[in-house]
């Protein structure tokens, strides 16, 4: 036969499909991740800088938060996307440490790269990393210092210290004393069994300095759209009764598609009167409950506004749903979808209500709420980007405090725990025979990236300080880390640079998992973009 001598080419995949494989592919993926790691590196630590990102729609973000930056980078490389995912997972799980998890994963891959180039099977590396991770996590659990919850003063101190550490790398680090109090108060005001951080409302008002931010033990929301007559309503109450509605209080057609056929001219007036009666019945029912403040998720029209103004009742329509939820949490009561049969149980109350001017906006404050399981932070700052970054920083700190409330064991930050783990793994590696020794040593070396990068960002001599740290840890000083105040090494446990142990455990685990996953991929099959060359997507 003519073609028995040569193997015919068998086309399995559609033409244009990208299929790369083998060792080259793994290295390729690692390189991509390292490029991402490089971008994030300068943002780590108290001397980490910010990144300014302008998205294609012209929105500017200035941030130091790893997860935020990665999200905005718009990464398309499939392997590099993994890093985005782990930082996002860390954000969702613990809310802080998003930069360090990415850097750690990158560093693990960097170590693995040399092994792969040396021809060690990727499965072998994976196993070694997993083993090292297990050991490291067990070690953190062993080292972590438990803080007693019984003593509220001491417990509060723990929370404050954790919050301060979380803020140290952010824009607000210089005002951390002020914001620490704010964050700890906010978390402690929540229901301690549930800790739903969504109940901490964060409102942003441009203008003012950052210290002008306000903590409200209740709810605050921006003045809603109002109709004529609103200004004649009282703007201040003590112990008001609050009724929360999901009813539209407006003179309008009851049914959208209804049509009335008027037979006679005389009937005309009756129809009009009937419509008025419907709305007046609603309004009178509300007024009869003795409520002082009427809130509704739906619009409150001009007629109702004037009606309430006549009766010294304050009203706000079109209250945003999440604001309304928090109002209910704070003042009690229930959302009503009808105006009839309102009982006093359905009404909420608070110590005082006031409409206050903040910057150029007016805010409704509900303060001193009896069942306050919610609170609001009103953030101020010189520019929108400043406030947005303050919000992100506070979010991180809130999450850390929240974690610390449920898991009250801490480790020292500033690279201290990483160095101790590194030392521990190195010691352990010596007891292992065979290639695993190399891998565990590699893990130990990767951990040192955190203190090294911290030094680099602060402009300190990384090599010297790292060696000092190594020798300190060898002498048994387990909490020695970088001390930025003295630009030297020091006991970070004693200088209160604390982080919840959970954050570290989670970071190590996610970083290892991500590294393992990337190492075990050796083939990418990518279908061709369905629109060839269209939409300016660029090449992958």
């Amino acid at each position: 036969m003519a073609f028995s001598s040569q193997t015919p080419t068998i086309v399995v995949l559609k033409e244009g499909t990208d299929a790369s494989q083998g060792k080259g592919q793994i290295l390729n993926n690692i390189n991509a991740c390292l490029a991402i790691q490089d971008t994030l590196k300068p943002t780590l630590g108290p001397f980490g800088s910010d990144i300014l990102i302008v998205s294609s729609n012209g929105k500017t973000t200035i941030s130091n938060d790893g997860a935020t930056i990665l999200k905005l980078l718009d990464i398309v490389h499939p392997a590099a996307k993994m890093l985005v995912d782990i930082s996002r997972a860390q954000d969702a799980e613990v809310g802080d440490g998003t930069t360090s998890v990415t850097i750690l994963a990158g560093e693990l891959l960097k170590e693995a790269k040399t092994f792969i180039e040396d021809g060690i099977s990727s499965h072998f590396i994976t196993r070694g990393l997993r083993k090292a991770n297990e050991l490291a996590v067990a070690k953190i659990k062993e080292l972590a210092v438990e803080v007693k919850k019984d003593d509220p003063a001491e417990f509060r101190q723990l929370l404050e210290r954790c919050a301060t550490t979380a803020m140290s790398s952010k824009l607000i680090s210089k005002n951390s004393e002020f914001f620490t109090q704010m964050v700890v108060n906010a978390v402690l005001s929540l229901d301690q069994n549930d800790l739903d951080e969504n109940l901490i409302g964060i409102k942003k008002v441009p203008g003012g300095a950052m210290e002008d931010s306000i903590f409200v033990d209740g709810v605050a929301f921006e003045k809603t759209f109002s109709y004529a007559g609103f200004e004649q309503q009282p703007k201040r109450f003590t112990d008001p009764k609050i009724v929360s509605l999901n009813v539209e209080l407006e003179l309008k057609a009851e049914r959208d598609n209804a049509e009335v056929r008027v037979e006679q001219v005389q009937d005309y007036q009756d129809v009009v009167d009937a419509e008025w009666k419907i709305i007046f019945n609603k309004l009178e029912a509300i007024a009869a409950t003795g409520a002082n403040i009427v809130l509704s998720k739906l619009p409150i029209g001009d007629l109702a506004t004037q009606f309430f103004a006549d009766r010294n009742i304050f009203c706000a329509g079109r209250v945003a749903s999440e604001d309304m939820d928090r109002v209910l949490k704070a003042v009690g009561g229930r959302i009503l979808s009808t105006c009839s049969g309102i009982t006093s149980d359905d009404l909420g109350t608070c110590a005082n209500f006031e409409e206050v001017q903040i910057g150029s906006q007016r805010y409704n404050f509900f303060k001193g709420c009896p069942e306050a399981k919610t609170c609001t932070l009103v953030l101020r700052g010189g520019a929108e980007q400043v406030i947005a970054e303050v919000e992100r920083s506070l979010h991180d700190a809130i999450m850390i405090v929240k974690r610390a409330v449920s898991h009250n064991s801490v480790v020292a930050g500033g690279g201290a725990i990483e160095m101790e783990l590194s030392k521990y793994l190195r010691d352990y590696a010596r007891t292992v025979a065979g290639k695993q020794q190399l891998i565990i040593n590699g893990y130990a070396k990767a951990l040192e990236v955190i203190p090294r990068q911290l030094c680099e960002n602060a402009g300190l001599d990384g090599i010297e300080l790292l060696n000092k740290l190594r020798s300190a840890h060898a002498k048994g000083e387990i909490w020695y880390g970088i001390d930025f105040q003295r630009e030297n090494v020091g006991n970070n446990m004693a200088s209160f640079i604390w982080e919840p142990a959970l954050v570290k455990i989670n970071a190590l685990e996610s970083a290892t998992e991500a590294a393992n996953l990337l190492l075990s991929v050796d083939e990418t099959i990518k279908n061709e973009d369905s629109q060839e060359g269209g939409r300016g997507r660029g090449a992958y």
Binding site: P206, A253, W276, G382
Partner: protein, 553 residues
């Protein structure tokens, strides 16, 4: 695959995030990488500082009483002439991100304090300028920012220390308030009639101020403007100004002892909101409808008459027939009043807004001493002035001027001075203007600098010289020798231990700002320093800029 497409159109890879595969070909990690611009490290910081500096240098010449104005022409050819920092910056269509931050900075000063918008940008620019020098010395940007923060704290302590309390009374002729208002008007176009404008500002604030809560509700002060006449024709109306005329040309132009019915329903037969249909098949039915309508009109007029009102203010329009009936019944009417104006009218006249004719009662009527129609020169524009209202807590500032630009600038100037007066009502502590406050801060900071260890010492000195820039700019804008003035004043402040010495911008012959009564509210000055320092920190902290290319479809 990646590299093939790369080969076809090689984007600029010099500053993108690049990794190379085993063959040494670059591949793409980030979407639209080629189009993204990226700046990194010190280069980024430096270019930011340069951008900020150029913005600051634009507004620099507008600082102080002898500051000059800028002409801004918007895209659709509208012209604005102003020397208000916030206005200049917001009208400039800036493209640079850092420059935009400065715009927001001046806006937040404007929102919060309402004055000192130029100063805050100049300080921020000067701080960044100083930071650049330090960065070139090799100091870490964040350490500089930390040092600035510490220095700012000291400056603020110093401000607190030198602040004077001035007495404020609710009396409209209070000299302190008047003079403070005058200071803020000093640099504006209205300065030739600034006595009058200052008086307007003080009167306006005092009539709406709530001294107990130390709060001033700006919504009660309305600004109306009208081209024509001169700035001196501007006046404060203790009442409401409506840009409307009476609905019928034969209605009297001036009414005394008004009782006003404020309506939100049209003077038309009521209509149901539900969709409706009336079928008319015979002539009788048509007649019945017409009679019904006429009856309704009569009922409405009766309702108004019975309540005792002699003026009808309505949010909606009237039928011609209604208009005629109103005239016939001797009722003056105003139609198509906007929602917020109606509300203002209701507050001013103590009336209630009435949604239905049936609800009209004598107690719901608003009262005012007079309503008169203003006519302007030969134009056919008319305005209604409601004066002598029962509630004086609502005023309107009526600004006149020979052209649009002057009127607009007048409004802005008046707004600034109203803000100053408001700030004094809120907090009556003041520091002295003319650069005196900055100078004393500068002295305090440089004195503290010597006590600092390490890098902070440099940052402190830089902070002090940034503050000096304000004084130098003031001197320069006033035509004085900046270095001479600064050094002279500095020596004088140090030897006389007086924090009241500032630049004698107007050539009054003395440097004692207390004597000249050039004051600034303490909160305004503090805010300036805080905002500028915080913004500087933010800019210094950025060392990586990634800008997506614009989408090209």
């Amino acid at each position: 695959m990646a590299a093939q497409q790369q080969g076809m159109a090689m984007p600029d890879m010099s500053n993108a995030i690049v990794a190379q595969d085993e063959m040494g070909r670059p591949f793409i990690i980030v979407r639209d990488q080629g189009k993204k611009q990226r700046k990194h490290g010190l280069e980024a910081t430096k270019s930011h500082i340069l951008a900020a500096r150029s913005v600051a240098s634009i507004v620099k010449t507008s600082l102080g009483p002898r500051g000059l104005d800028k002409i801004l022409i918007s895209q659709d050819g509208e012209i604005t002439i102003t020397n208000d920092g916030a206005t200049i910056l917001s009208q400039m269509d800036l493209d640079n991100e850092i420059a935009k931050l400065l715009v927001q900075l001046s806006r937040s000063q404007d929102d919060e304090i309402g004055d000192g918008t130029t100063g805050v940008v100049v300080i921020a620019g000067a701080l960044l300028d100083q930071a650049l020098e330090l960065i070139e010395k090799g100091i870490h940007p964040i350490k500089i920012a930390n040092g600035f923060d510490e220095a700012c704290k000291i400056a603020i302590q110093q401000l607190d220390k030198v602040a004077d309390e001035i007495k404020i009374s609710a009396d409209a002729s209070d000299p302190n308030l008047l003079r403070a208002a005058k200071t803020s008007l000093g640099s504006k176009i209205v300065s030739k009639s600034h006595d009058q404008f200052a008086q307007m500002a003080v009167d306006a604030v005092l009539s709406v101020a709530d001294f107990e809560r130390k709060d001033v509700d700006f919504e009660l002060i309305k600004m109306e403007k009208k081209v024509g006449g001169s700035l001196e024709d501007s006046s404060l109306i203790k009442g409401v100004l409506l840009e409307k005329d009476f609905s019928h040309s034969q209605m009297p132009k001036h009414i005394e002892d008004c009782k006003i019915a404020i309506l939100t329903c049209p003077l038309e037969p009521p209509k149901p909101k539900t969709k409706h249909k009336l079928e008319i098949s015979t002539a009788e039915e048509f007649k019945a409808l017409q009679e019904y309508e006429q009856k309704k009109f009569q009922e409405m007029i009766d309702c108004i008459k019975n309540s005792g009102a002699n003026v009808v203010a309505c949010q909606w329009g009237f039928d011609d027939e209604a208009n005629h009936l109103l005239l016939a019944n001797g009722l003056n009417a105003i139609r198509w009043i906007g929602g917020s104006e109606l509300e203002l009218l209701a507050i001013a006249t103590n009336g209630r807004i009435v949604p239905r004719f049936e609800d009209l009662t004598p107690e719901k009527l608003g009262t005012a001493q007079s309503i008169r129609e203003l006519e302007f020169g030969t134009t056919r524009d008319r305005m209604l002035v409601v004066e002598g209202c029962s509630n004086t807590k609502s005023v309107t500032c009526f600004i006149r001027g020979s052209n649009d630009m002057i009127v607009d600038e007048g409004v802005r100037a008046l707004h600034d001075s109203i803000c100053v007066v408001r700030n004094l009502v809120r907090d009556n502590r003041v520091v002295y203007g003319g650069g005196a406050a900055e100078l004393t801060c500068s002295l305090a900071v440089s004195e503290a600098a010597d006590r600092q260890k390490g890098i902070d010492q440099y940052a402190f000195r830089a902070f002090a010289s940034a503050l000096d820039t304000i004084i130098m700019t003031l001197a320069e804008n006033s035509g004085l020798d900046p270095i001479d003035t600064l050094s002279g004043l500095k020596a004088k402040q140090a030897t006389e231990k007086s924090s009241q010495l500032g630049v004698d911008c107007l050539g009054k012959g003395t440097n004692d700002m207390k004597e000249l009564f050039v004051i600034d509210p303490l909160i305004g000055k503090k805010q300036q320093l805080l905002l500028a320092t915080q913004l500087t920190r933010m800019i210094l902290k950025i060392n990586d800029v990634i800008i997506s290319g614009k989408d090209e479809y």
